[in-house]
């Protein structure tokens, strides 16, 4: 059975999606449980795969028994093994954590919501597990389409924001498809590792160059690297909160994974880093993304919108770290995919909890939240410290590797941008802490007794809090086990020859 894990990861949720949709008509309460079982199997398989990877190095699975380059091969190595586990864990935890708010927000539409949810996870996990460039496009579109639909289920200007996301997303995915087309022309293959074995002979070809450029452009749009980020803030702000705490941690991070996968495994480092000689320019692009994302975040007036801009800056971290093209930088980028996914989940879950109790997430609504929702805000503090980069939370350690990479590459602009962004994050998050902590002014002075403090306590239900606490504790655990993660997994994900 364990040899079929790669298939389980996507097939089980795919099938489950149809059952969920049907269950939505028959008995709505079943939807959640079907989804939970499907995602649990997916998570279990991912763990199983990672363990296999740790023992046997690489797991290759030929879909339907067809061997590549004719058939579709799923391939799990150190790089996607860990990303798989993280994505599956995030999808599962978020599912559990948002049960109550889904019931509250989607009353009638629970069935469609969970069907889309599980399909989104199918697509995302598929992107990570597949070893076939075209298959990746299809799964990318599955993830994107369900993502559009999930965001479109939101309130206010969700439909419009989602439609704009459709336009940008389609352009991005189509560029990627076009790039794959040129690679196919040049090599006659769609299997990533098959392409990689053919490419070195034709590195000088303009076709390969064009494929490289166009693929990368598409991916940059999909991952919302500044200045291709315009779709992200609106889409994330108006999206329903149970959906955004799934989409925000996964979409952009998985696209960064795809970039790393395509550039390291398909184009190979010698082409991406040496022949192209574009490293420094891309790092500067990332620097701009970090700086502009941070500054734009400062001018926002609502929690989710602010977090969206923080994420745009975080994308810059990963892209910049990767293009530093040294071992520390790439380690930092991969580590940050994992860490950023976890901390984004944490802060967006808190945003969801807040919206569960409070009418809106604009800063005015956050007054007195430390008193009202101490546990949620406690988790928010952990998430915020991680985003700022305070040890021993995980965000510090990825930043550590990124900055060391920047110093090693002599790219001080990137180092300065990271420090600048950390400082801006301090301002951003402490502004929220201040509002939640100080305001409303006055009325709680010299009350003295403890009873009055208890009165206003109204945190999210336990079912939402427990998973949130697990995530928050996970941020610290990820930080403390950074070295294990790096020495056991990530260092093998980086091909030799990069020093």
């Amino acid at each position: 059975m364990s040899q079929h894990f790669p298939a389980f990861i996507i097939v089980i949720p795919l099938i489950a999606a149809f059952f969920i949709f049907t269950a939505g008509w028959l008995k709505r309460t079943y939807c959640f449980y079907i989804a939970a079982v499907a995602l649990a199997i997916s998570l279990f398989s991912s763990f199983g795969l990672l363990l296999q990877v740790l023992q046997n190095k690489v797991v290759v699975y030929h879909f339907g028994g067809w061997s590549p380059p004719w058939g579709i091969a799923y391939r799990v190595d150190y790089l996607n093994g860990i990303v798989l586990v993280v994505s599956a864990a995030i999808a599962f935890l978020n599912l559990i954590a948002t049960k109550k708010s889904v019931e509250k927000e989607f009353i009638e539409r629970v069935g469609p919501f969970y069907a889309l949810y599980v399909l989104f996870v199918t697509g995302t996990m598929g992107i990570v597990v597949t070893g076939d460039a075209f298959n990746l496009y299809v799964l990318l579109e599955i993830a994107s389409l369900t993502g559009y639909a999930l965001i479109g289920m939101g309130t206010e200007h969700a439909a419009l924001a989602s439609l704009n996301y459709v336009f940008m997303g389609t352009i991005g995915a189509s560029f990627y498809l076009l790039g794959i087309g040129y690679l196919y022309i040049a090599t006659g293959s769609l299997n990533m590792f098959d392409i990689a074995s053919i490419l070195p002979n034709i590195f000088q070809s303009n076709v390969v160059l064009f494929a490289f450029v166009i693929c990368l452009t598409g991916l940059f749009i999909k991952m919302a690297l500044f200045p291709m980020h315009t779709w992200l803030p609106n889409a994330y702000t108006y999206s329903p909160s149970p959906a955004i705490s799934l989409i925000a941690p996964l979409t952009t991070k998985v696209m960064v994974y795809v970039m790393i996968r395509i550039l390291l495994s398909v184009f190979t480092p010698s082409f991406s880093f040496k022949s192209m000689a574009v490293n420094t320019s891309f790092v500067w692009l990332a620097v701009i993304a970090i700086v502009v994302g941070s500054i734009l975040a400062l001018s926002q007036q609502s929690l989710k919108r602010m977090l969206s801009y923080v994420m745009i800056a975080e994308i810059g971290y990963m892209v910049g770290g990767f293009w530093l093209a040294n071992r520390a930088g790439i380690t930092g980028a991969i580590l940050h995919i994992i860490n950023d996914a976890a901390m984004t989940l944490c802060v967006f879950l808190v945003a969801g909890n807040i919206l569960y109790r409070v009418p809106g997430d604009s800063f005015d609504n956050l007054k007195g939240l430390f008193r009202k929702m101490p546990f949620s805000m406690g988790a928010f503090v952990v998430g915020a410290l991680s985003i700022i980069g305070v040890p021993p939370t995980c965000g510090f350690f990825s930043k550590w590797y990124l900055i060391t990479g920047g110093i090693a590459a002599g790219h001080y602009g990137f180092v300065a941008a990271l420090l600048f962004s950390s400082l801006v994050n301090v301002v951003l998050f402490f502004r929220i802490f201040e509002i939640g902590y100080f305001e409303p002014f006055g009325d709680l002075h010299i009350s003295g007794s403890m009873d009055e403090e208890e009165k206003t306590f109204d945190d999210a239900p336990l079912g939402m809090l427990v998973p949130l606490m697990i995530v928050a504790a996970g941020l610290i655990a990820l930080g403390i086990y950074t070295d294990t993660l790096v020495t056991k997994v990530i260092q093998f994900a980086i091909p030799g020859g990069i020093s």
Partner: protein, 493 residues
């Protein structure tokens, strides 16, 4: 140097973190304070139990987690850390008692939160004291910054908010903006961050970068309040007085100084500092701060602000002592950590007691207060003696060694600075006491009737005052610890 592995340092750090859930979950206030006391005593006894071992010249190590290749979150107890940990954990017990009197009398809100963050701050302080490498030091340093934020802004009013902003801007801003890059740079160059007796970057880092790194660290650890990174400290005085007393006279500010000393000796090493002439730069920075802060203190009318500026000046004594790069100066600096702690905490306790009993914050309104609160003001006098450096105040010993250090290092100008600063100290403390006791009945603003602060306030400040005098006659174990540090650092030369 002999080393043993033991979990005790980790327990010493952990014990007050573990007290937090207990404090939160206890409904009755008496039990809640009971837990605080329990944690404080447990912490002190764990630390004290390690003292004999350290006095024998042995070091205790404990690795919490390996987080980066060649860098772990690791604790190591040596004489310097032990000295600092002893002072702060002992004073935590005293401050806990004082907090109870102060907070209950003023009917402060959110006392549970107050005691929780106090416990967290102490964990971080001991963590800094026992850090074995720069990363662990940074970790606990940041933890302390964030744990003290709710204490500084305890009153949750507009003033608290703006002070909180200033506090974070200076402390977190400088640690992320200056210390973090400096630390990463050193890690990049050397591949290690472990403190050693003689420093580890000599010969690896190019000399022209040394002075940048030294400045990054000296200013980056803004908790040490070296000018111009000092203005958070007077702002932080909006906190309740026990916070100002323990954190902003002992724990937080001394953590800053401790970090600077630790980095200067453990990372750069005295020989490198000497050869790159950075000692002179640090000396002048410190002496400027000493004189400027004392002058500003003269003009402060609010008692706590005056004490804050006095603290800023006294902190730089410690840095100056280390930067003299002479064994006696080093001993003086180390001793000053302990001596100033006992003296200054007494002064702050007195300021709080005056506020609790009369609601007065300003010095100009304290004329004749000695008649009303004789015990408090007598203790204030003892504390002042210690800070000024007049026998039988404990501060005399540390200043004596500092002065010997200036002679040993042949720094006449520093001798002049130290002496004139002591004069200034006397100038801003003694008039308060004079006016409090010796004034005509017409001038007195208070009725001639003894009405002291509650015993929970009064007893702790008496204890610290007695300790200040006691340390003059019997400065152990701090003196032996300081001597071990000094011998360890200078034996290689």
């Amino acid at each position: 140097m002999e080393t043993i592995v033991s979990i005790r340092p980790f327990l010493a750090v952990l014990v007050s973190i573990l007290a937090v859930p207990l404090i939160v979950s206890t409904r009755r206030t008496n039990f809640r304070e009971g837990w605080t006391f329990f944690a404080a005593f447990a912490k002190f006894s764990i630390i004290a139990s390690m003292t004999p071992v350290i006095l024998d010249g042995v070091e205790i190590e404990y690795t919490i987690a390996q987080v980066l290749p060649s860098v772990a979150i690791k604790l190591k107890v040596d004489a310097f850390g032990m000295l600092f940990a002893l002072v702060s954990s002992f004073l935590w017990i005293v401050t806990s008692a004082y907090s109870i009197g102060y907070m209950r009398r003023l009917k402060e809100h959110s006392q549970t939160r107050y005691f929780c963050y106090f416990a967290l701050s102490l964990s971080a302080t001991i963590g800094v004291a026992f850090s074995a490498n720069l990363l662990t030091l940074y970790l606990f340093y940041e933890m302390l910054s964030f744990a003290t934020y709710p204490l500084v802004t305890h009153h949750q009013d507009m003033e608290g908010r703006s002070s909180g902003r200033k506090y974070l801007l200076f402390i977190v801003g400088s640690s992320i903006g200056l210390v973090l890059p400096a630390m990463l740079f050193i890690y990049h160059m050397t591949g290690t961050l472990e403190f050693t007796q003689q420093g580890f970057i000599a010969g690896i880092v190019p000399p022209k970068l040394i002075w940048i790194l030294v400045l990054l660290f000296v200013f980056g650890f803004a908790k040490a309040a070296v000018m111009p990174f000092h203005s958070w400290l007077p702002a932080a005085m909006v906190a309740p007085t026990p916070v100002s007393a323990l954190l902003h006279a002992v724990a937080v500010v001394k953590v800053g100084v401790f970090c600077i000393l630790r980095v200067l000796t453990g990372v750069f090493g005295t020989q490198l500092l000497f050869s790159s002439q950075m000692d002179t730069v640090v000396l002048y920075l410190a002496s400027f701060t000493i004189i400027a802060a004392s002058l500003v203190a003269l003009s402060q009318d609010s008692l706590k602000s005056r004490l804050a500026y006095s603290t800023i000046g006294q902190l730089s004594y410690i840095i100056l002592g280390a930067a003299l790069l002479s064994p006696k100066g080093m001993i003086g600096g180390m001793m000053h950590i302990a001596m100033h702690a006992f003296g200054k905490i007494t002064l702050f306790f007195c300021a709080g007691a005056i506020f609790v009993a009369t609601g007065t914050k300003n010095i100009s309104q304290m004329v004749g207060i000695g008649k009303r609160m004789p015990v408090t003001l007598s203790c204030f006098f003892i504390g002042s003696l210690s800070v000024i450096g007049i026998p039988p105040g404990g501060g005399f010993i540390s200043k004596w060694y500092l002065i010997l250090g200036t002679l040993e290092a042949d720094q006449r100008f520093m001798l002049f600075i130290l002496l004139s600063s002591s004069l200034l100290n006397a100038a801003y403390f003694l008039p308060i006491i004079y006016k409090a006791f010796f004034c005509t009945p017409e001038e007195s603003l208070f009725e001639n009737k003894i009405d002291e602060a509650p015993p929970w306030c009064l007893v702790p400040l008496t204890i610290t005052a007695i300790c200040s005098i006691f340390l003059f006659f019997y400065p152990e174990p701090f003196f032996s610890l300081a001597k071990i540090v000094s011998v360890g650092i200078f034996s290689g030369q």
